[in-house]
């Protein structure tokens, strides 16, 4: 009798010990015409909770799209998303890889494993089959050949190839990049400039300020182009307007309280209004008639400083999406959408059927891609 009991117990254990599979094959990805934005969330460092959230024009939100489609997690700290052709390129910071997914199906095209100590942050298409990737790592490792660098990668997916074509030594962290004509602007501890036909460390130049010194751009500030072709970007103390031809600052606007390297910025699709944040406050500069903003256009939850602005993006409808997260709380971030008057413009139904002035994305949402 006892042997039957033991046998039964063992059988039950074997059957029930099968690994749980967290897949959802029923997820339907909206078409590109229905999709309005994709939110890239970093997740908590070391926890692998990075994710993609999609939102449609009719306010349907789908969480963890990558995981649901590909039956695996996106990785540790996905940083940004760039569309090149039919694919999205997603650098995954602490996983030292770039996930390439099909922009319609979200299925993996290739996992570009870099096998170096660089920390991929942003991607810019150089044309043809080359992309360039920025690197958050700060300096060379003593005694090793590793160094902070920009990397030029081969994107002939599915072929047996050397993924890293070459590296450009930088010696400091680099972040957002922008190709303007034949020049590549790279933000970081210094705003670097390269000629596209001479992408070498020795040919690197720096944009200089009024004191003729290089200056840094906020880590997550986009390099924005206004309708006159001028560059707008955020520094830890000011907003700068730069002529890409002369590679010099035209104007600099100093805003009270602007001191963090964590500022975000974006510009509307018409290239007129430049938006940036300082903590919980969002400011705007009219590039047609620029001046230092005297007050924020949005000051959400001013009395609750624990909630901070973690990302910012301007939609195709010229409204502003703001990601807010609660420090110390490992929960989904909230994405609010405002017009220029500081009014909420979209409401979303939450899982309990309540109308909320935000939708939830992943943990630490940090980049919004608009379609």
């Amino acid at each position: 009798m006892k042997y039957k009991f033991l046998l039964t117990m063992v059988t039950i254990l074997i059957v029930t010990s099968c690994t749980q599979v967290d897949t959802d094959s029923s997820v339907i990805i909206p078409s590109s015409t229905e999709l309005r934005a994709i939110v890239v969330s970093e997740g908590q460092f070391g926890y692998g909770t990075g994710s993609l959230t999609t939102v449609t024009h009719d306010q349907q939100v789908t969480q963890d799209v990558f995981k649901k489609i590909n039956n695996r997690v996106l990785g540790d700290i996905p940083q940004s998303l760039t569309q090149i052709g039919d694919n999205y390129y997603i650098p995954v910071n602490n996983s030292r890889k770039i996930e390439v997914i099909d922009s319609k199906s979200f299925k993996t095209v290739e996992t570009m494993v870099l096998n170096t100590q660089i920390i991929p942050m942003y991607v810019e298409h150089l044309g043809g089959d080359s992309i360039i990737v920025s690197d958050q790592s700060s300096s060379a490792i003593p005694g090793s050949s590793e160094f902070s660098s920009l990397m030029i990668l081969d994107i002939n997916h599915g072929t047996d190839r050397q993924i890293i074509r070459r590296r450009i030594k930088m010696n400091f962290p680099t972040f957002q990049m922008k190709l303007i004509g034949k020049k590549l602007f790279v933000s970081g501890a210094e705003l670097s400039v390269f000629d596209l036909d001479n992408l070498n460390a020795s040919a690197r130049r720096f944009v200089k300020n009024a004191e003729n010194k290089p200056f840094s751009i906020c880590d997550f500030s986009k390099i924005c182009i206004d309708k006159r072709g001028l560059i707008w970007a955020l520094t830890p103390g000011s907003v700068v307007c730069i002529d890409p031809n002369t590679e010099k600052i035209i104007n600099e606007y100093f805003v009270d309280g602007l001191s963090s390297r964590w500022g975000n910025s974006d510009i509307d699709k018409d290239g007129r209004y430049f938006y940036f944040n300082s903590g919980t406050k969002v400011y705007s500069i009219d590039t047609d008639n620029p001046s230092t903003p005297s007050k924020p256009i949005i000051n959400h939850n001013n009395n609750d400083p624990e909630w901070t602005t973690y990302a910012l993006g301007v939609t195709k409808e010229n409204t502003v999406m703001i990601v807010r997260v609660l420090f110390g709380s490992i929960t989904r971030g909230r994405v609010f959408e405002y017009d220029r008057s500081g009014n909420i413009v979209k409401y979303y139904l939450d899982s309990e059927g309540r109308n909320q002035p935000y939708f939830r994305a992943g943990i630490f949402p940090h980049y919004i891609h608009f379609l």
Binding site: S17, R96, K97, T108, V113, L114, Q117, I141
Partner: protein, 643 residues
């Protein structure tokens, strides 16, 4: 041939060991041997208190079976407490009743080993070989261990009554992943002096193979990287018994750990992280027993040095930490004075930590403690006790208490217990002084807890049964958590969380001794509902805390034949654990099934024990911490000689 070579090497290591420590080891396997030994009879130990709270003494046979394991493995498989591990030999922390690892006090022979800088303790640094007893104080019962143990405490060390019979033992084990263990004990008595010396060494390549299904679009097999470790130690105990009423005791423990720290399998780094630590712990005590009066003086010195080298890509640094603690403690107890037992304790502790994280400065913490205890037997069946402590930490005064009672409903067969306690945990030195980010204005965490239990112990002929069911409830305020500050580059600790934890614990053990066979079936089950009640307006409100499983159980069956042959099977289950505070992300539940088969050969006073162990029989992939894979099926062969 290769394995034979390893076994020989292990044996050489064993023989080369000789050092220090005293352990009151019963001659191997106290249940199955006739032990004809002499114990030092002079003194009764200072008894523990909290009669109405739950205290679990780990079965000594479990300690013997797990001699080549670390304490984390033992507790994972055989207790209700929750162990969070980064892998075999890697950092392992313990938590009770839905609290955090910082709320667990770890004591060696009654002296706290918790790091003054971190607050928590790494259980992988304690070989079970160095323990004769492991006692778990759950919830309010941990108050007697001092402040900080909001969840509970784990006290390991030597038996209260030292064994004086000469003893010699050698243990050698070799297993998967090139894991080799060697250990030895020698004990002798000369007149009134007893010496016990133990040595232990284990090393492992720890490069187990598993299928990585999460990193890229193509699943691939890989071996665990940068997870090798070496650990060793020596322990010396000296007991001097000048009269039958007095005993002097000196215990010394040196422990060395050299570990590579593996990264999660999503982090594609080729860089290495290593942790090398050296610890010397010394406890000296004098205890005397005069009639109903007991007095004990204890002095301890805990010295440690830890170098943490990190080489992440472009970021490389070496963090150096030194700690040195002195403890002086006086216990006085008087028993059976009318219907009362009374006790007083005075304790002084000085902790010094010098760390590169404190700008290289040495930080001191002085803690003065005065504690009073009283137990009153109202009737032979109804007892109460009160334990109150005043503690002064860095010139700030705090008070904690525990009140508990028990009622013998049907003699020893059915006992009701209940307790209530208030405790606090002072911020760690890292919380206060870490540069940058330390917050000197932090308040201590405070907690109220209640529990009630019913237990039954029945013995009839060949049959023994023990059962206990318990419910607990706990509120913790001002939970300390590190968060990024405004500019995002500096993390700083703040008080803000309120945590409510409630649940139940079931423990059962059944023993049947029939003719030449012995059957032992035991199990533990715990349910923990531990939720965030901070009400900060986020989605964590009312949700289970990360890495606290709601359900956890383990079951163990052991069969003996003629005291020479045994089979043991152990199964443990850990429920899903949420990895985000809003219950949106989680890591999978897992079972682990382990087995052991062994036999024992005896010739006069010589005994030879041979056993084969198989861990994770189902070869299932599982993670204690998400994306840190644990070993798949592992085998181990153990040879143990006792004289």
């Amino acid at each position: 041939m290769k394995y034979l070579y390893k076994i020989v090497i292990s044996l050489i290591i064993i023989f080369s060991f000789s050092s220090v420590q005293a352990q009151t080891e019963e001659k191997e396997n106290i249940r199955h041997y006739e032990i004809n030994e002499t114990t030092i009879s002079a003194n009764k130990p200072i008894e523990k208190t909290s009669i109405g709270s739950k205290v679990t003494q780990m079965d000594s046979t479990l300690l013997i079976k797990n001699k080549a394991n670390d304490l984390a493995t033992l507790l994972t498989r055989h207790s209700t407490i929750n162990i969070k591990s980064l892998g075999q030999g890697a950092l392992s922390t313990a938590s009770f009743r839905g609290t955090s690892s910082n709320h667990t006090q770890v004591l060696w022979n009654g002296i706290s080993l918790n790091s003054a800088s971190l607050g928590s303790f790494d259980f992988s640094q304690v070989p079970v070989y160095f323990t004769d007893k492991v006692t778990l104080y759950h919830g309010s019962s941990a108050q007697q261990s001092g402040s900080g143990a909001l969840g509970g405490s784990v006290d390991f060390g030597s038996n209260d009554k030292p064994v004086t019979k000469p003893y010699f033992s050698l243990l050698s084990e070799y297993g998967s992943n090139n894991t080799a263990t060697g250990a030895g004990t020698i004990r002798f008595t000369k007149k009134k002096l007893t010496s016990s010396t133990k040595g232990y060494y284990q090393q492992s390549d720890n490069d187990y193979r598993y299928l990585n299904k999460v990193f890229s679009n193509k699943p691939f097999y890989e071996n665990r990287k940068n997870a090798a470790y070496k650990q060793g130690g020596v322990m010396q105990e000296l007991f001097y018994n000048p009269t039958e009423k007095d005993i002097l005791n000196l215990m010394t423990w040196y422990q060395y750990d050299n570990k590579e720290l593996p990264q999660n399998i999503l982090s594609n780094t080729t860089a290495k992280e290593t942790l090398v630590s050296n610890n010397v712990r010394i406890i000296g005590s004098y205890q005397t027993n005069r009639g109903i009066n007991q007095f004990k003086l204890t002095m301890a010195n805990l010295w440690g040095k830890m170098n943490h080298k990190r080489n992440f890509g472009s970021f490389s640094d070496l963090s150096k930490n030194k700690n040195n603690s002195f403890v002086t403690r006086i216990d006085y107890r008087i028993d059976n004075i009318y219907k009362w037992d009374l006790g007083l304790t005075a304790n002084y502790r000085n902790d010094m930590v010098k760390s590169s994280s404190y700008d290289g400065k040495a930080i001191h913490r002085n803690t003065y403690t005065a504690r009073g205890f009283a137990m009153y037997r109202i009737t032979p069946k109804l007892h109460f006790d009160l334990d109150a402590t005043a503690e002064c930490v860095d010139k700030k005064l705090y008070g904690i208490y525990n009140i508990s009672g028990r009622y013998f409903l049907i003699n020893q067969y059915l006992i009701l217990k209940a307790s209530n306690a208030y405790n606090h945990r002072t911020p760690t030195l890292n919380d206060l002084y870490w540069a940058p980010g330390g917050n000197p204005n932090l308040k201590p965490e405070t907690g109220f807890s209640w529990d009630a239990s019913i237990s039954s112990s029945i013995t009839t002929g060949i049959f023994d049964l023990y059962f206990e069911a318990l419910y607990y409830h706990m509120n913790i305020n001002d939970w300390i958590m590190w968060i990024p500050t405004d500019n995002g580059y500096i993390w700083s600790p703040v008080n803000f969380s309120k945590v409510n934890s409630q649940g139940s614990e079931l423990t059962a053990k059944m023993t049947v001794n029939y003719k030449k066979t012995n059957h032992i079936l035991s199990g533990n089950y715990t349910f923990a509902h531990s939720v965030d009640n901070s009400n900060r307006g986020d989605d964590a409100q009312g949700k289970q805390l990360p890495y606290i499983p709601r359900n956890k159980w383990n079951i163990d069956y052991e069969f003996w034949y003629n005291n020479t042959f045994w089979i043991n099977a152990n199964c443990s289950f850990t429920d899903i654990r949420f990895t985000s505070a809003d219950e949106e992300y989680y890591t999978n539940a897992y079972y682990q099934l382990n087995a052991e088969i062994g036999c024992m050969l005896s010739l006069k006073s010589h005994q030879l024990k041979l056993s084969c162990k198989l861990d994770n029989i189902l070869n299932s992939y599982y993670e204690s911490t998400q994306y840190y894979p644990m070993p798949l099926r592992m085998w181990r062969l153990q040879l143990n000689y006792v004289f």
